[in-house]
Structures are given as C-alpha cells and as structure tokens.
C-alpha cells in the first residue's frame, strides 16, 4: 500500500466517523464540532484530489462560515450543557434500517457499474476557473454566476427581514 492510499483511508475514516458522531451525539455543541471535523475532512479530500481551489472554498465557506453560524445559533437557542432528548427506539431503528438498505442498494449499483473514460485532467488553475466563470460563449458559466449573485443578495435581505426584531404589536 502506498503512502497516498494510506492518506486517503485516513481522510475517509475521519469524514465518516465524525459525520456519524455529528448525527448521533446527544450534546448539540459537540455535534457541531464533529460537523466541523467532517467538513475539514472533506476539504482534505479535495486537497488529496488536487483541487486546491475547491478545498480553499470549502474551508472558507463551510468551516469559516456555516459552522460558525450554526454554533452562534446554538448559543442563541440552547442552554449549554443540556442534552438533546433521545430519539425513540422505533424511529432510530427504522431510520437506520432505511439508510442502511438504501446505502446497500446504491453501493451494489456502483459496484456493478463499469466506469470508463479517463481523460487526463487539464490544468486546473484559478486563472482558468475565473475565465470559465466569466465566459459568455457556449458552455460558459456567466449566467449562473450572475443568478447566484442575485440569489445571495436576496438571501441576505431575506435573512435580515426574517430575523429582525419586530415591535410588539398589541392584539
């Protein structure tokens, strides 16, 4: 086994173990920290695949943005130290069975499928990503880029409006 393979197995086990702990931990703050480790593992997987730009975006947006936002909202809505209620036995049994069988189904399909076509990966520089992003010819990505910018603006205004403290109305 090569060194690269060992690194892959380490990263994969980090992602899966901390993901599993994130959805099963009874303390919500610990659950958020396990989620953070899982996201870091995914970023490490992108580094392993040599997609450095995606890995950097993953760290900046997920680890630096989303997980911090989740931790802040936990502080706003929970008393630290109180445990989450245990899910009922029936619900966790059936959810576990459903997930397990769905996983086995998908995995059997993937196992049986033959993947082919290995063009060498072209040069993946930030330069090329930026040019493709603003390319308005056939196959360019300028339209989704603009739509996402509108979406982010709408989400920002929407968040402010929803979470704004309204004056107590007499009724």
């Amino acid at each position: 086994m090569e060194f690269k393979d060992i690194i892959f197995y380490l990263i994969a086990s980090l992602i899966l173990v901390s993901g599993l702990l994130a959805v099963t931990s009874r303390q919500i703050f610990r659950s958020a920290i396990y989620l953070l480790f899982s996201m870091m593992g995914v970023a490490a997987l992108y580094f392993w695949l040599q997609f450095e730009f995606i890995a950097a975006v993953q760290i900046v947006v997920y680890v630096g943005g989303i997980v911090v936002l989740i931790i802040f909202s936990i502080f706003l809505t929970h008393r630290v130290g109180s445990d989450l209620p245990e899910p009922t036995y029936k619900r966790s049994l059936f959810a576990g069975l459903a997930s397990l069988f769905a996983f086995l189904l998908f995995w059997s399909v993937i196992k049986r499928n033959e993947f082919y076509g290995d063009q060498p990966i072209g040069e993946l520089s930030v330069h090329r990503i930026g040019e493709e992003m603003l390319n308005y010819n056939q196959g360019g990505f300028v339209l989704p880029f603009e739509v996402v910018s509108i979406l982010l603006l709408a989400a920002m205004i929407g968040c402010i409006v929803i979470a704004m403290k309204t004056n107590p109305v007499k009724n």
Binding site: K4, D5, V42, I54, R91, S99, D118, A155, I162
Partner: protein
C-alpha cells in the same frame, strides 16, 4: 487495489446516508440542518470525483460544486434566520412544536 472512483463514491454514498439517518432521527431544527449540510457535502464529493476521473478535459463538476456551496451558504443563512424567529415565538426549536400553521 488502487484508489479510484469507486472508493470516492463509497465515501460520498456513506456520508449521504449518514446525513439521511440524522435527518430522519433528529427532531431539533439545528441538528436537522447539520444533517442536510452533510448530505450536500456528499453530493459535492460526487461532482468533484466524477470531474476528476471521468471528465478530465472540462471543469463542469468543479463549477457545479462552487454553485452548490454558494447556494448551501444562502440556504443555511435563511434557515437559521427562520429558526431564530421560531425560537422567539415558541421558545424552543423542536419541529414537533412548530405547528401553528397547521389547519
């Protein structure tokens, strides 16, 4: 056996169904949101892996991943705004208790 596409697909499929399990068992809105984030990450791994191993000449998978990350950030921000608003009204964020729109 050399690490290839099936290994990455194993990781992403397992992560997706871990997220699905969390979404089905949790009843707290923030933890359900965390489970959804895990599922979105699994999808991103899939896109990047297919781009790397099967579609090397182009960057379509990378762009899908970037747009999914942007939309996931917007989705999380809106969801947390809604959760905080619900917490102000109901003073807890259990999905079973948020039933004031029920007819």
């Amino acid at each position: 056996m050399e690490i290839g596409l099936p290994h990455l697909l194993f990781v992403s499929t397992a992560l997706f169904f871990i997220g699905a399990y969390g979404f089905l068992t949790r009843r707290n809105m923030i933890t359900m949101l965390m489970a959804v984030e895990l599922m979105l990450n699994a999808v991103n791994i899939n896109f990047v892996a297919f781009n790397k191993y099967l579609w090397g000449g182009k960057l379509d998978g990378v762009f899908f991943t970037i747009f999914i990350i942007a939309i996931a950030a917007a989705e999380t921000a809106v969801a947390i705004a809604i959760i905080i608003h619900i917490y102000r009204d109901h003073s807890n964020i259990d999905v079973e208790d948020a039933d004031s729109l029920k007819f």
